[in-house]
């Protein structure tokens, strides 16, 4: 056993223990770690914004040759966001927000339509090559039934009566099975994170293994 002599390992180990102390109950050690974490993350975010965005994307292209004067327009649009601090000019924020939301929607919707809807439709067609074995046949039928009933579950403008309600109930079963699988998968991933932290405490900090 050789305990680490690095001050950074000690700080990391103590902060890890402070955070885990929350498992017992809320306490001053957890609060200290929480406030250090939040303060550091805020400072880190500001530094990243300054060095990765303001300097290379605003200051350098605008003030260093070759000057990109066209950037003044998006910068002005961004500056309009600060109108929110003024009672008189707080309406200015509507313009950058409208540009931001509209532009983003325009970029995202075609991509989502392509990757989520068209690809799903394409994958749902039951072609002969999907029935090459018993396993693949069951798989193809399950995906087809699951897709149709899940889509029916997400119908909002029709009352759930008769067969429609039954199909929606089958849909929710498929949804819950998918959720269960995703839950189990993520719990495994979280356990691996816990193992990583334990390895750090035992190996790097305490030097036991």
């Amino acid at each position: 056993m050789s305990i680490s002599t690095s001050i950074w390992v000690w700080i990391a180990a103590l902060l890890t223990l402070m955070v885990y102390s929350f498992l017992y109950k809320d306490n001053p050690f957890y609060r200290l770690a929480e406030h250090i974490f939040m303060g550091l993350s805020l400072g880190y975010t500001l530094t990243i914004l300054w060095y990765n965005y303001i300097i290379p994307r605003v200051y350098e292209p605008l003030f260093l040759p070759p000057h990109q004067w066209s950037l003044i327009f998006p910068i002005l649009l961004g500056l309009m966001t600060f109108g929110i601090f003024s009672k008189k000019y707080n309406w200015l924020i509507k313009y950058p927000l409208a540009f931001y939301v509209g532009g983003y929607a325009g970029l995202r919707i075609p991509l989502l339509l392509q990757s989520w809807i068209i690809r799903q439709v394409e994958a749902s067609f039951l072609t002969p090559d999907k029935f090459t074995s018993v396993y693949s046949s069951i798989n193809a039928i399950l995906i087809f039934v699951g897709l149709v009933t899940t889509l029916i579950y997400f119908y909002f403008s029709k009352k759930r009566e008769h067969g429609f309600g039954a199909a929606a109930n089958v849909g929710i079963i498929f949804i819950m099975v998918a959720f269960g699988a995703a839950f189990g998968y993520t719990v495994m991933a979280r356990i691996s994170l816990l193992i990583g932290r334990m390895q750090f405490l035992i190996q790097e900090w305490l030097g036991i293994m």
């Binding site: 974490f37 993350s41 889509l151 993520t186």
Partner: protein, 373 residues
């Protein structure tokens, strides 16, 4: 090594079609037998020496030079190397790249979008004429919101509303703001406190205005405390730690987790569960829904969030888009059903010696695959 200009081996270059510029596609033809690699050289306008840019694929006979500058002119030279000699080919005219305004490979997506847009516009007009005429089914989590705020009031505890950790551009965050307005009205009516921490300053600003309006509409503008709507941090787990701390110190009676969440979803929902708060979650992040389903009392699943905002507001534009989306779902179901029936008929006909239907079916599949790629 001997360099020979052989007529049969040639290359061509063209501005890569349907792209955002910055790319020239080079094709090689009549690649000599036994070629081990094809080196590609480029001469930029004004330069005198060719520089090596990459290798043309022997199998595809193609190379996408994505390191060019739009508007600058280039010449290309290909060198096919076999075991004992090298064959050289080059283009004679300068070529340059430029961006295209229209990506033709996405025409099918555009057509679908136009179709969807027309359907939604029609339903928005119908909703404007008769908003009560458009039925939207009851959503249990919405009914529970009243109960949750009432419970927090009875217990003398505040309500905590977390709008997720996405920006205002996310549809889930926008839906969350509509739900916040409804919760804000209830909170004002019941004279309870609402705590609203934020990940993004712009969302925070909008939430402040939304809650201020909600309190005013409920006839309690004086009860609104601007300081209860605050910015925490834009770091994911820093935000989660902060919200967890608030949950433990303030002990809210009701927690609303509405918006887009990432890996912090389970941390937040578990902490909320541990303090015994009634929790109503909603997210369009499909990967996080399982955790909310496991740890919360009520959950709005994905699209239900958007339907909820339409249900609450009865806003014609939202009602119209929900109705339009339902119609598109019907169209997709019909398309999939027709595809299955047609595919089966094509398969039977193909086995009986008539391949025509199968050829048509394969063309439809190819079209869909192209549109999805």
């Amino acid at each position: 090594m001997i360099f020979l200009l052989i007529l049969s081996f040639s290359i061509s270059a063209k501005d890569t079609p349907d792209d955002a510029g910055g790319s020239i596609t080079i094709n090689a033809y009549n690649i000599p037998e036994g070629t081990q690699r094809i080196l590609l050289y480029r001469l930029a306008g004004g330069d005198t020496i060719y520089e090596e840019v990459g290798l043309i694929s022997i199998f595809k006979g193609e190379y996408d030079d994505a390191s060019v500058v739009d508007g600058m002119e280039y010449l290309y030279r290909g060198k096919a190397i076999t075991e004992d000699r090298a064959y050289v080919a080059e283009i004679k005219e300068y070529i340059s790249s430029s961006p295209e305004w229209f990506n033709k490979s996405r025409t099918s997506v555009l057509l679908l979008l136009i179709l969807f847009w027309v359907v939604v516009l029609i339903y928005i007009q119908l909703a404007k004429k008769n908003p009560e005429g458009l039925f939207i089914r009851r959503l249990p989590p919405l009914e529970a919101m009243d109960e949750a705020v009432g419970r927090a009031t009875e217990m003398g505890k505040p309500v905590l509303y977390v709008p997720g950790i996405e920006y205002i551009t996310d549809a889930g965050t926008l839906a969350s703001i509509t739900i916040l307005e409804m919760v804000g009205k209830k909170v004002a009516e019941y004279d309870t406190r609402i705590i609203n921490p934020h990940f993004d300053p712009i969302v925070m600003t909008i939430a402040q205005e939304t809650l201020k309006t909600a309190f005013s509409e409920a006839g309690r503008p004086d009860a609104f405390n601007k300081d209860d709507v605050f910015y925490l941090t834009s770091e994911q787990f820093g935000f989660a730690a902060g919200v967890d701390g608030i949950m433990h110190r303030e002990k809210p009676g009701a927690i609303f987790l509405q918006g887009y969440f990432y890996a912090e979803s389970l941390i937040l929902a578990e902490t909320g569960y541990s303090i015994g708060a009634i929790q109503i979650a909603g997210t369009n992040a499909t990967t996080q829904l399982p955790f909310f389903v496991a740890a919360c009392d009520y959950v709005l699943l994905g699209e239900e969030m958007f339907a909820a905002s339409a249900y609450i507001s009865r806003e014609p534009r939202l009602l119209g888009s929900i109705k339009g989306a339902d119609l598109v779902k019907s169209a997709l179901l019909i398309l999939i059903g027709a595809g299955v029936i047609f595919g089966t008929i094509a398969f039977i006909a193909d086995n009986a010696g008539n391949p025509t239907y199968m050829e048509i079916f394969n063309k439809i599949l190819e079209f869909l695959a192209r549109a999805a790629s």
